[in-house]
């Protein structure tokens, strides 16, 4: 039988549920049996129930510049994304190696820059790079830890093909969705969890607290006092900030609650001021300290950087970690991992053309229609070109931007991201997904078996960002 065009395309895309020899891949077998016995109408009703729960609970995110409906729900799809025990083991080994390398790289960059002297990373990537903070040169953070919390974005293209798409080393968000999605699934389909050995994720807040507490600053005496710093209720991830503070049982503070007194950052309680030892900040570097960075910032704490440099507080993540998740640096990650761990990187990078390089630029300009082009400092899926999905006009407009500032862009092949089915009106349909496991770095590396699976809900779309119409799924890591 001749393959039709759609089948040919389907064959190129790896479906995590259906691309098995006999139609269903092993981790999904029990789930699939269950799914076959479900009434579609019942599932759709459950989907609406789930949405009502999310709305009532206030699990929303705010969209910048969207005044009208500024608290939106991230759509939740009820078909779980399932990862087998062996797959997870492989991933965690690679992730652990990578975060160790990231921290070693950061320490090196802010100290002797051996990797530059060794000629493995070019100096020009560091000079004039806004993500490199001169204020951090020579500063060693408590415990030598830079990235206390990392979100490693991973995509899959085949049975054994995993790639790291991005290292989120600043303030990765989304972990509250990992936890709430599981909570919702447990409430709606308890029977699924007695039939499948799904490893729990609920320990994340406790592990986060342990991990943060294990990195006290020099001047901390006694049990470290932890707090979460939020920009406030209008921030897009406010729900998550409140959620994590609440789950950890620590104060959720804003800049206006904090003041530097006697060389410590202290929070204003009803009874007076109390020093904070470890600050899990969800405020960007630029807003952290108006005396050091953006002087207009109302979100930070004047003088916190001085306290930090004198060992009076742990800031998680450390200021200046952005240099490690810069997209231009990303392309050097295989070299970086090898340089600091002495081993080949277990997790591969997506092949990347640096447009700052003349030869690469001319290749990229010739192949714009096939490539994904991203801004070096961009995030959230903004300012990028997905060649195969773009119109001729969009490509030409992008070509001009690229020619004007080539150093501002990198390009990657359009990966055939794996798909997982989602629930649609008339059954199920495949949609592209990625995976963001959350990694805690401190006295040791802690990884909760799970993560945030983001799914591009629009048919054929490869952009999974919530700001661009992406949704989320519960992510199951199966036990042995």
């Amino acid at each position: 039988m001749k393959q039709s065009q759609s089948q040919a395309q389907g064959a190129a895309t790896f479906d995590e549920m259906l691309s098995g020899g006999d139609g269903v891949r092993p981790p999904y077998r029990r789930f699939r049996n269950w799914l076959d016995g479900q009434e579609p109408a019942r599932l759709l009703k459950k989907a609406r129930d789930a949405e009502a729960i999310f709305r009532r609970t206030g699990i929303t995110f705010n969209v910048y510049g969207d005044e009208q409906s500024n608290e939106r729900l991230i759509p939740f799809d009820m078909i779980p994304r399932i990862i087998a025990a062996g797959e997870w083991r492989r991933l965690t080994e690679g992730i652990e190696q990578r975060v160790v390398a990231l921290n070693a790289f950061l320490h090196d960059i802010y100290h002797r820059q051996e990797i530059v002297r060794a000629g493995r990373v070019p100096k020009h990537l560091l000079v004039n790079n806004d993500a490199l903070l001169p204020q951090m040169m020579g500063v060693t953070p408590p415990g030598g830890v830079y990235t206390h919390i990392v979100g490693i974005d991973i995509v899959r293209t085949g049975e054994n093909e995993f790639f790291v798409l991005e290292d989120n080393a600043r303030t990765p968000s989304g972990v509250s969705y990992m936890l709430e999605n599981r909570e919702t699934m447990l409430q709606m389909f308890p029977e699924l969890f007695s039939a499948n050995r799904v490893r729990p994720v609920k320990d994340y807040p406790a592990l986060l607290r342990q991990s943060l507490t294990a990195c006290p600053p020099e001047r901390c005496s006694g049990k470290p006092v932890v707090a979460v710093l939020t920009p406030g209720i209008h921030n897009s991830a406010y729900f998550e900030h409140a959620f994590l503070a609440d789950e950890m049982g620590v104060e959720l503070v804003e800049g206006s609650d904090l003041r530097v007194i006697d060389g410590r950052v202290q929070m204003r309680l009803t009874t007076g001021y109390q020093p904070i030892d470890v600050l899990y900040r969800r405020v960007d570097d630029a807003f952290l300290d108006p005396l050091t960075f953006n002087p207009e910032s109302m979100l930070g704490v004047p003088g916190i950087m001085d306290v930090y440099r004198s060992g009076g507080i742990t800031i998680a993540n450390a200021p200046g970690t952005g240099i490690a998740d810069d997209k231009a640096i990303y392309s050097y990650m295989p070299e970086i991992v090898e340089f600091y761990t002495g081993r080949r990187a277990l997790l591969e990078n997506v092949p990347t053309w640096r447009c700052s390089d003349a030869e690469s630029l001319s290749y990229v300009l010739d192949h714009l229609a096939e490539l994904v082009v991203k801004e070096v400092h961009g995030s959230g899926g903004y300012g990028m070109l997905v060649g195969p999905a773009a119109s001729k006009k969009e490509i030409e407009a992008f070509r001009d931007k690229l020619k004007a500032r080539p150093g501002n862009y990198i390009a990657q092949p359009t990966l055939a991201l794996s798909t997982v089915p989602v629930l649609v009106e008339n059954g199920i349909a495949p949609r592209h997904v990625d995976l963001r496991p959350f990694v805690l770095v401190s006295d040791k590396v802690r990884i909760v078996p799970g993560g945030l699976t983001r799914v591009a809900l629009k048919e054929g779309s490869l952009v999974v960002n919530s700001s661009q119409g992406g949704g989320t799924k519960d992510t199951w890591v199966l036990g042995d």
Binding site: R55, G58, D257
Partner: protein, 310 residues
């Protein structure tokens, strides 16, 4: 706890109380307007005065009718203390102190806000009004019940209760003050019974027209009504009842602070006061003085417990 959290709890509770009282005030006004033959605009004027928005209402030449007053008190964006804006402020404060609320309390606050925002999104007719008002009363009561039923009895709880009673004392005293002229001897001799309509308006605005009869077993007279709303601790919206709670919660928060002293002085004044003396010295003067002292206490609480940076 954080000073800002105390501030958020205090104002969340104040705004919820305010929203509820505005609905009750409007409900009373509506009832009077419906049952009274003749011109109801005087009654609407009282309602606007009690809510403290009469001037803002008149600003662009509005005429007071059930619909215009309801629109202004419930949903007009330009009306800062309308129920919609008050609830938004309550919910924003609740969201800010999310970690200090139980999940049940937060969900009822959030669900209540989502429901009422929808309900108040478009103008409504006089026919819809009773249902809208009962929705507001139900949602605010649900929140109060969830909060009361699930909150740990710690300082979080006390700061929220303080907000409730400071706001309630303010509202009750303003309701009496707007109607004080009908309680004055010159209007109706002391001891004589009042025109039905007047006493009903007052008692209904505090949801106590039946309770009064049970408490006093007598025809409402100006003196008895004033006694009921100012000095009777059994009446949960009276000034004395509010101050009994305020001093109780301030006591739980810790002795010795400046605001305790002024709260205790006000409570003692209500405790030992007699209604005859209050009338003799001037009801309006008494209420004006009370509102000022109540406001001053609110500021003193904010300072004592470091609600905002100094």
């Amino acid at each position: 706890m954080l000073g800002r959290t105390a501030n958020g709890l205090f104002w969340m509770a104040r705004y919820m109380e305010r929203a509820e009282n505005t609905a009750r005030l409007l409900d009373a006004g509506l009832r009077i307007a419906l049952t009274r033959t003749g011109d109801a605009s005087g009654e609407w004027e009282s309602v606007l005065n009690s809510a403290g928005v009469a001037e803002a209402f008149r600003a662009n030449g509005r005429q007071a009718t059930a619909e215009t007053v309801a629109d202004f008190l419930l949903r007009a964006p330009e009306s800062p203390s309308c129920v919609l804006n008050t609830l938004r402020a309550a919910r924003d404060n609740g969201r800010m102190v999310r970690t200090a609320l139980t999940r049940d309390a937060w969900e009822s606050l959030n669900a209540g806000w989502l429901n009422l925002r929808e309900r108040l999104s478009a103008p409504f007719t006089e026919t819809d009004l009773p249902e809208v008002l009962s929705d507001i009363k139900r949602e605010t009561a649900l929140f109060r019940g969830m909060f009361y039923g699930t909150a740990l009895r710690n300082e979080n709880y006390s700061f929220a209760r303080l907000g409730t009673y400071v706001e309630r004392a303010d509202n009750t005293s303003r309701i009496i003050d707007v109607k004080y002229y009908v309680l004055l001897p010159s209007f109706s001799r002391v001891g004589s019974s009042l025109d039905n309509y007047h006493w009903e308006a007052i008692l209904r605005s505090v949801s106590a027209h039946r309770a009064f009869a049970w408490a006093y077993n007598a025809e409402p007279t100006p003196v008895l009504i004033a006694d009921f709303l100012i000095l009777n601790k059994k009446m949960p919206r009276s000034l004395a009842a509010c101050y009994q709670e305020i001093t109780h919660h301030l006591g739980l928060l810790g002795e010795g602070a400046g605001c305790h002293k002024s709260a205790c002085e006000i409570a003692a004044m209500l405790e030992s006061g007699s209604i005859d003396t209050i009338f003799a010295e001037g009801l309006h003067e008494f209420l004006t003085d009370f509102v000022q002292r109540n406001n001053a206490l609110s500021s003193a609480i904010a300072t004592t417990y470091r609600f905002i940076p100094d």
